[in-house]
Symmetry: D2
Subunit: 341 residues, 4 copies
């Protein structure tokens, strides 16, 4: 009964954990979003034939193969790319240039957590007032076993960076999206395990164009946190707070209420009248990690149908990469850096 | 690449909110569970042709039609049925008898919340010791708008009961599964909106066969709760606590630790070594409401492949129905009732 | 510089944990409340001379001795009495009659937790709307060591009752104060340790005069709780929730706000504009258990100065005793009981 | 009955909010701590005669007058001083030198929060393992009303500094006490209200001698926080977390437990076997802000009786002042500063 839909032939490069997440999103997007497109899982690409076949079998990919993103774009294909965009600023700039003519997306999926999207709505409506503080943490404990020094994530030559690219990139994307441009920053990195040459942890202090100040911290050495991608925003009229470990919740504080009724309020952002609430289940029925990818894809297909520009795209990811690059340079030089605005 | 799988032709009766949930589970089970079966969404059945066609289009059902569960079972089909099983104990007994010869399932899906399944593991290992208290709440605020007196959920002739069948049935199923049989109970019901003839709220006190005492409360008149299906179990060695609004979490208390280190511990039940953690995402990446249906279906297909009996099935649902029936009779007669064990 | 104050000579009967609490309140009340009275710790009374002398030394009591409440009142003294008032309803009635002519107080101190007093204010202002549910727990784990069967608290002949008088009495007093009279109730008690003859746990279901229904549970067999004296009130316009383990906080839910901004709000009830906030510290500086006694005494001295009637007094405690008595009789007879309103 | 105690004549300089706190501690210390000393509230000193008389009347000070700390010490008196010690490092050094020969104390009272003292015990026992991160916040919303630009706290000439001295000084004292010396730091300050010339907020990144990295942030512009003096410590074996707004709680995470049982545990640090639990109430009966002063004084009198050195004293406060001074210089020069260790 979907014969009127236009088929989108999908080629996916990569087949690990995140490839599973994307396969799921391609399958599910049509169930939750009205779209004129029908994704067809055409080909999954990678280096390991055996694993490719297993993924293809479990998730219904028709073929297996091995290409790369820039080549694909050169041929006029739509490009959806994981974050961080690249291992260096140069490479990121070349990639962004390469895809400029085609619809493109970078999977900064956390913008589409309903609670995060609702935070953006509240900020846009001015409910937090003049922003004073933007405070972000992205903590997990994945790296704190020092005997695991040898994975690709711990080799700078392969991974580009450590915690900065892997975790902090998400925090930076959300900060730019929610609080605008960063004008100046100062960073410190730390490698706890001698056998590694990537940053195990990173701390950043920043000034934003809107007059607020920011502090960021990311670490793989934070037992007690599994996936604590969190932010807190203080403004003249209130506060917003989010933690990915409870991704269905948003904490808000309204400083304009009578003083004796002010308190931190825990919203369950599952509707009614919340972003994506109509797409998924009923109020009180929570969603999971994967739905952030489905919502991202749903919105992307919507912009595709309306021939609009989607965000976050390669340009947005390039802006993130510029901040990550400045963080690395600041940490190396132990000095403040100014960013072009 | 799934040509070796055996097709299961699915006929689904009903197409509302919960039909969407089931459609999703049939699509997704093969992505997360290894199974020799391939569900084929053959026919969706109901009374409203227009809605049926919309559901069929969005979720990929091949045909639309109108049958019933008992008739289907009579023809030797596998039967998966929503809860509560029936509007009366008599009806439930006839249904259970009708399906005795075929594989069958009742969607008490909350047994497969990973946190709930892990609670059962901990109980089975004796980690809570001798059980003293089983305390359950199922609260939402869906009914507290008194102007909505006319929906089918508020008519006893259509719905059978109100909060008892709709909400408390889930609590009773979990109680029987986690804490064993109820030997005696006393119930009180309350209808807040005069135009309704179903119970808007119900309170139950009970004694269990294992010597513990139980208290249950369900209400659609509890602003502050969206979907608070919660339980707390106190035993000689500790405590377990769960709330569906945070379904990825289980709170535990270990009374065997040194006194100064005892505290309520908040587990994020997303692995490693938690039920279903291998099926879904990585530790720290939470799942949503729908995954409880996928996990239920995954396990069901597993028992089907191994020709084992699945739980919860119609017999389990019949046991729940016996408790619900006693609750209704106790509330009506204002007296304690003894249950056959 | 306090020569203008009128001295109140205090005779305190009892010198255990709670005697220490009261000694503290007599010392502290003048520091936090403006009052024309100066308590003078004149005599502490009890059976154990050695302990009396230690208490007198540490807390500054001038003399030690041995009297009783009724006798004291007969002589026209002001009487401040711990809860529960008595071991039986008869005794409670005689005590209430004896003190009718003198200023009197019963230490149901939790009414003066600022968060509880603020809850009462919000209820009085109608902010919760029509009340549907009153739900109270008082849980600790003090009794769950079955080897401690022999303390006085576990002997009915000495203690009158177990958990009912010790813990549930507080919950009943708060319920009557916050939600009005109980018209009907049904109770279940349980003794887990064979060597004890008091109730280790008690569950009560009730109907209130205002049309709401109530559920109560108290237990000394609830590992995970140290002092969980909690209540939750659901009404047509919102919810209030309190837990003594976080006594500086009150959780509120306002169902009249826009649906997408509704959430449970955590108030830190330390001012501004909260009860007793002016008496104690600055906003954000929390108080402890003892301040509930100081606030109770402060208000009592205020009524004394203005020759007004203080609450809770012996009459209020007698009303609690009537409910406790009905609970005991209902549990014994396994039947619903109606209370005189 | 306290005739055997040695009288300590107290002269208190200052009579505002914190003077009330100290008056209370002098009254209460003997009730909760065994000590051979009897504080006598001899004289309260300050500039405003009317307010002095009111404080003297309410809290029982015998006389009123006007002296200063250094002069007092010169005469061989015991000196107890509020924090921060001074407005400049020079002044702090002179003060520390002046009191070197007499018993002295600085009111960094938060070391004696039972939960904080217990955190120190756990750290000392090595339960957190190798420390990776020390993360501290001290947030309130006291300054975010920009119309209040004129109080003494907002004038550098009077207050010395803003948030740094007022709030961050507490965080620095706890960091030095719990995690050892800071070797290097980089700071950023921000003034949000033009009419003020003190720092409204401060952010610091630091390296500790033990190889861990630190991040600090303090602000009076953080609506949502009333008194959030918090820290989180991540180490190879676990995590500790504290927040003064819930000062009776300590959150701990034990990374040495089986992975599926790891979770953040919420300890109610009210005994048994917790610091100061024997001095105050029973387990489950919480204490408030003022008890941190009573406990500090109790310990001080203990060292006085045993002629031991008390901590935190003027030398400890001088170490804090050195860090605060470096923070100010780093923020002014926008450069990293190395501290003498």
């Amino acid at each position: 009964m979907s014969e009127l839909k236009q088929t989108l032939n999908i080629a996916m490069i990569g087949h690990g954990f995140i490839g599973k997440v994307h396969s799921n999103a391609f399958h599910q997007v049509g169930h939750f979003f009205q779209t004129p497109f029908q994704p067809r899982l055409k080909v999954v690409c990678g280096r390991d034939r055996e694993k490719l076949e297993a993924v293809a079998s479990q998730w219904g990919w028709e073929e297996i193969a091995t290409p790369i993103a820039i080549a694909a774009a050169a041929a006029g294909k739509i490009v959806l790319c994981e974050k961080p965009l690249a291992m260096s600023l140069d490479e990121a700039e070349r990639m962004a240039a390469a895809v400029r003519q085609v619809p493109n997306l970078v999977w900064f999926n956390y913008r589409r957590v309903p609670a995060v999207a609702f935070a953006k709505t509240l900020l846009s409506e001015g409910r937090v007032g003049q922003i004073f503080h933007y405070r972000a943490l992205y903590l997990n404990q994945s790296g704190s076993n020092p005997t695991k020094a040898s994975g690709w994530r711990y080799q700078r030559a392969v991974a580009g960076s450590g915690t900065t690219g892997d975790l902090l990139s998400h925090s930076v994307d959300l900060a730019l999206d929610l609080n605008g441009k960063i004008t100046e920053l100062m960073a410190m990195t730390k490698t706890f395990v001698p056998a590694r040459d990537v940053d195990d942890a990173v701390v950043v202090m920043a000034r934003f164009a809107n007059g607020s100040i920011g502090s960021f911290e990311a670490s793989r050495f934070a037992p007690g946190s599994r996936n604590r991608n969190s932010f807190e925003i203080n403004g003249s009229q209130g506060m917003l707070r989010f933690n990915l470990e409870n991704l269905n919740n948003l904490e808000i504080f309204d400083a304009t209420e009578p003083a004796n009724l002010q308190g931190i309020r825990n919203l369950l952002v599952t509707g009614p009248n919340h972003p994506y609430a109509e797409n998924f289940w009923k109020p009180g029925h929570i969603i999971g990690y994967e739905h952030t990818f489905i919502a991202t894809l749903g919105d992307f297909l919507g912009t595709l149908a309306r021939t609009e520009t989607f965000h976050p795209n390669f340009e947005d990811a390039l802006a993130v990469q510029r901040v990550l690059d400045a963080i690395q340079r600041s940490a190396d030089s132990k000095s403040w850096l100014t960013l072009e605005v």
